[in-house]
């Protein structure tokens, strides 16, 4: 086999992903058959649920938004060689912080949103600061420390919500935020709000940052060749710390967008799993922010489609989780990639 020049290499990658996709769907179909449903009906319902009409499309985009923003947070970390799996926790804290500003203060409309967002961002960054510090200073594995921090974040925000700021007489949630802190909605028929635009703008800005700025160059180099970067005069620790902080900040922003744009309050079990979905969307997009737009859209469509699935068929919504996992597994195997000659394998993940 000869090495193929770049374009056809890309083609092969795409073909490989398509093949992976087909295999995953086939496996999914088998499982759907096993639970006594028609795969065709299930897939059609999914499509209708995701893209059936304008409202459905808006619903898909609504689901896409948090996954996208969390995905960008993950991308930022991945580019700098940092694996932030704690986006879930940053999302929760950011969400809570934004809600707090939203209900506890009364500010003029635009300013209110900005202050709430700012605090969400700060909360997200602050939550990752300690794991980040230990990562760059002592090499503490950030995957594990951020996962553990997730549990604490969830419990902590529950504590705040229920013990300190519970809405009197209500379910375990904070009082609603003031209308001055609402993110503007895009359409009358959906909760879809400018959070989506923020996400897309952020994705584009992140991509541009990495491609066209000196700082972005430094981050990329630290991520892909840390010793080279160090040699070249880049402060690897500072960059690594900064990357995690910004990643955490974007995670917090995702929480803020959910709070101010959709729920207009913080509640227990606020947005479970979006952080992980974002991480996986970013991984599937191989750390590319633009690619993450598409993987997040794909996940969003699956989720939105699954809502109709539950209503229109007897299949459980969890079947979507299964299909999603199968797709991730199949795509991760990179089926058409040629295996390298060395058999020793990689010790740590690489991007």
């Amino acid at each position: 086999m000869k090495t193929l020049p770049l374009p056809s290499g890309l083609l092969r990658t795409l073909a490989g992903q398509a093949l992976a996709f087909v295999i995953a769907l086939a496996l999914g179909a088998v499982i759907i058959l096993m639970i006594d449903e028609s795969p065709v009906a299930v897939f059609m319902t999914l499509m209708r649920g995701a893209f059936g009409d304008a409202e459905k499309i808006a619903g898909t985009l609504l689901q896409t938004t948090p996954i996208l923003i969390c995905g960008i947070a993950a991308c930022i970390g991945l580019r700098g060689g940092m694996f932030n799996v704690g986006i879930e926790g940053q999302l929760f804290l950011g969400g809570f912080a934004a809600a707090w500003v939203g209900f506890a203060f009364s500010l003029p409309p635009v300013l209110h949103v900005l202050v709430a967002m700012l605090l969400a961002v700060v909360a997200g960054a602050a939550w990752v600061a300690i794991p980040a510090f230990f990562r760059v200073r002592f090499g503490t594995n950030e995957v594990v420390s951020t996962i553990l921090a997730n549990y604490i974040a969830t419990l902590l925000t529950s504590y705040f919500t229920i013990f300190l700021f519970k809405r009197p007489g209500g379910w375990s949630e904070t009082p609603p935020i003031l209308e001055s802190a609402y993110l503007p909605e895009l359409f009358s028929f959906s909760r879809l709000n400018i959070g989506l635009l923020i996400g897309i703008a952020l994705a584009i800005a992140t991509a541009l940052f990495f491609r066209w700025t000196a700082k972005g160059y430094a981050v990329t180099m630290v991520g892909s060749a840390p010793k080279f970067a160090e040699y070249g005069g880049i402060n690897v620790r500072k960059v690594g710390f900064g990357v995690l902080l910004v990643s955490g900040a974007v995670g917090g922003l995702a929480g803020g967008v959910e709070t101010l744009g959709v729920h207009h309050r913080f509640m227990e079990g606020f947005a479970p799993g979006f952080g992980f979905d974002g991480v996986i969307a970013a991984l599937l997009a191989n750390g590319s922010p633009i690619g993450t737009i598409f993987t997040a859209l794909f996940f969003g469509a699956l989720r939105a489609g699954s809502l109709l699935l539950e209503v229109d068929t007897t299949a459980s919504r969890e079947i979507i989780t299964v299909i999603q996992a199968l797709i991730i597994l199949a795509v991760s195997a990179d089926l058409l990639m040629r295996r390298r000659g060395d058999r020793t394998g990689e010790r740590r993940w690489k991007f």
């Binding site: 000196a214 892909s224 060749a225 010793k227 970067a229 040699y231």
Partner: protein, 533 residues
């Protein structure tokens, strides 16, 4: 004919690159067969194929007259083949005996019998005169001992044919001589040795037959007696080469780089740089000779700010820079060609332009207010490709698509044009083909003539002889002495490289040992850094 190894038409490709092309190799039983060739000629690849670590794309292999398919080292080992690799393959956390018997453990009741392994190691060690302590852990042993363990590993498997891949690269001349004596005794016992090197003297000294590889092809297989050194070089390189000393003017610049009483520790936190002092003047090339792993890397890293120093002083143009961050040191005029180019020197997956950009991503004309101008970077890279004769299709090629020598040229091009007037050059021509070597030497001389101060670290004496105005020899982290480049005395250098003090050591005057090196156990040298990762 009684052939221990018979390879026919071996071809191995890595992607579009052909590392071995139609190679025939016949090794007679009971001979020392040297395989020589430039870096990258395909020696290791060929041996890895023979040993079952790589599979050939074409060709046939016969061992001891039997045609075989060697799809795993286990097959090769079973057929009496043993290999001592260029990069040692020992497990640091295991003991010497455990390492030797790895893969052929002695067991009793299903459990590994440590005592028996230690005993057997002791017996082996005595039988072959290779002294080791069987129950010691490998982590922390010196390279010389590691090599002994590797040889014992092979012997313990009853190898009758032993392959040694560049066994002397990390040894002192004296250690090398011991090794050769051992190899001789093996052959006297009827064993066969295949021995890889690109050091002509060694080859002339020990081998019976020589096979020369060039660009993945066999250019000759001859009995040693029918060869002269000059012929060997011509076969290796394809033309006559002389490392003649470059003509030069006198040195009269001011002191640009002054190092005084510099101490540092290596990655294992053992003292590895001990009271080094030296001065390089503008328009001068100061060479540092020494066997790899004697503190040269640490010296370079401390100077460029990559390794925290323990003690001492480093002045650039009279300004103290010790302890500053790499970027600050660069800003004060130091450029650095790292010895470990694949890890430190480039990002293999980034484009040439991106590699060139390193260190100047914040500077005009490549960036304005933090925004990069890739167009400028590509243009600059295109110019460098031309000027340094880099064989690449264009500035957007990923670095990994270039050969080692061309990657080295990319690094040199970047550093020579970085604007620093003190150049710290570590192993400038490691893994670089002869033609490119000359070009690089020309470029280094040009830099000298422009008045730059150059600290040149090299393990190749002929390179230093050709370029350096003065040569310092390092051993065990110390500077052993100085030799004039004009009248280089190879014997004296050789002795100093082996740690023999020519007269009195350079500067033990203060008597201070600030990092307690004297109290530390006789510490080992780390293995030569791996070049390709």
């Amino acid at each position: 004919m009684d052939l221990a190894v018979d390879l026919q038409g071996i071809t191995k490709r890595f992607g579009a690159f052909t590392a071995n092309s139609g190679i025939d190799l016949a090794v007679r039983r009971g001979e020392i067969h040297a395989i020589i060739g430039e870096n990258g000629a395909g020696k290791t690849t060929l041996m890895n194929i023979l040993f079952g670590l790589l599979q050939p794309d074409e060709g046939r292999i016969a061992l001891n007259g039997k045609a075989m398919v060697i799809d795993s080292p286990a097959v090769a080992i079973a057929e009496g083949l043993g290999m001592v690799h260029q990069h040692f393959k020992l497990v640091p956390s295991l003991t010497v005996a455990d390492n030797i018997f790895l893969g052929m453990e002695i067991r009793r009741n299903g459990l590994i019998d440590r005592a028996a392994q230690i005993e057997r190691t002791r017996v082996l060690s005595q039988k072959f005169g290779l002294r080791v302590d069987p129950s010691e852990r490998v982590a922390g042993l010196s390279v010389g001992i590691e090599q002994r363990i590797e040889i014992l590993k092979v012997l313990a498997r009853d190898a009758r044919t032993i392959i040694l891949d560049e066994p002397t690269a990390v040894l002192t001349p004296q250690e090398s001589r011991d090794l050769f004596a051992t190899l001789r005794s093996f052959v006297d016992d009827g064993m066969t040795v295949i021995f890889i090197s690109h050091h002509l003297e060694e080859v002339m000294e020990v081998s019976d037959t020589v096979t020369v590889l060039r660009d993945g092809k066999v250019v000759a297989t001859r009995p040693k007696t029918s060869l002269s050194k000059r012929e060997l070089v011509r076969l290796m390189v394809g033309r006559d080469v002389s490392f003649d000393r470059r003509p030069r003017g006198p040195v009269d610049g001011k002191a640009a780089l002054e190092i005084a009483d510099l101490w540092a520790r290596d990655d294992r936190r053992l003292p590895m740089l001990k009271s080094a002092s030296l001065t390089v003047r503008s328009g001068e090339i100061l060479g540092i000779a020494g066997v790899a792993g004697n503190g040269q890397t640490e010296l370079a890293e401390v100077l460029s700010g990559l390794r925290p120093p323990s003690h001492g002083s480093v002045r650039l143009h009279g300004q103290e820079v010790l302890g500053l961050a790499p970027a600050q040191i660069r800003a004060r005029g130091l450029a650095h060609v790292p010895g470990d180019r694949m890890v430190r020197g480039v990002d293999r997956n980034a484009s040439l332009s991106a590699n060139m950009l390193m260190g100047r991503q914040d500077k005009a004309p490549f960036s304005h207010r933090g925004i990069l101008s890739w167009a400028t970077a590509h243009a600059e890279m295109r110019a460098l490709i031309k000027r340094f004769d880099i064989r690449a299709r264009g500035p957007k090629d990923p670095a990994r698509s270039l050969s080692g020598g061309n990657i080295q040229k990319v690094v040199l091009a970047r550093e020579f044009t970085a604007g620093g007037d003190v150049l710290l050059i570590d192993q400038p021509t490691r893994g670089v083909d002869i033609g490119a070597q000359e070009a690089i030497h020309d470029e280094i001389m040009r830099q000298r003539d422009q008045g730059r101060a150059i600290l040149l670290i090299s393990t190749q004496l002929d390179e230093l002889a050709a370029l350096a105005d003065r040569i310092l020899v390092m051993f065990d982290g110390r500077i052993m002495g100085e030799v004039d480049g004009e009248a280089m005395d190879e014997e004296a250098i050789g002795l100093m490289m082996a740690g023999v003090d020519p007269a009195t050591p350079v500067d033990p005057s203060t008597g201070i040992d600030p990092i307690g090196a004297a109290a530390a156990p006789a510490f080992p040298r780390p293995p030569a850094s791996e070049e390709v990762r």
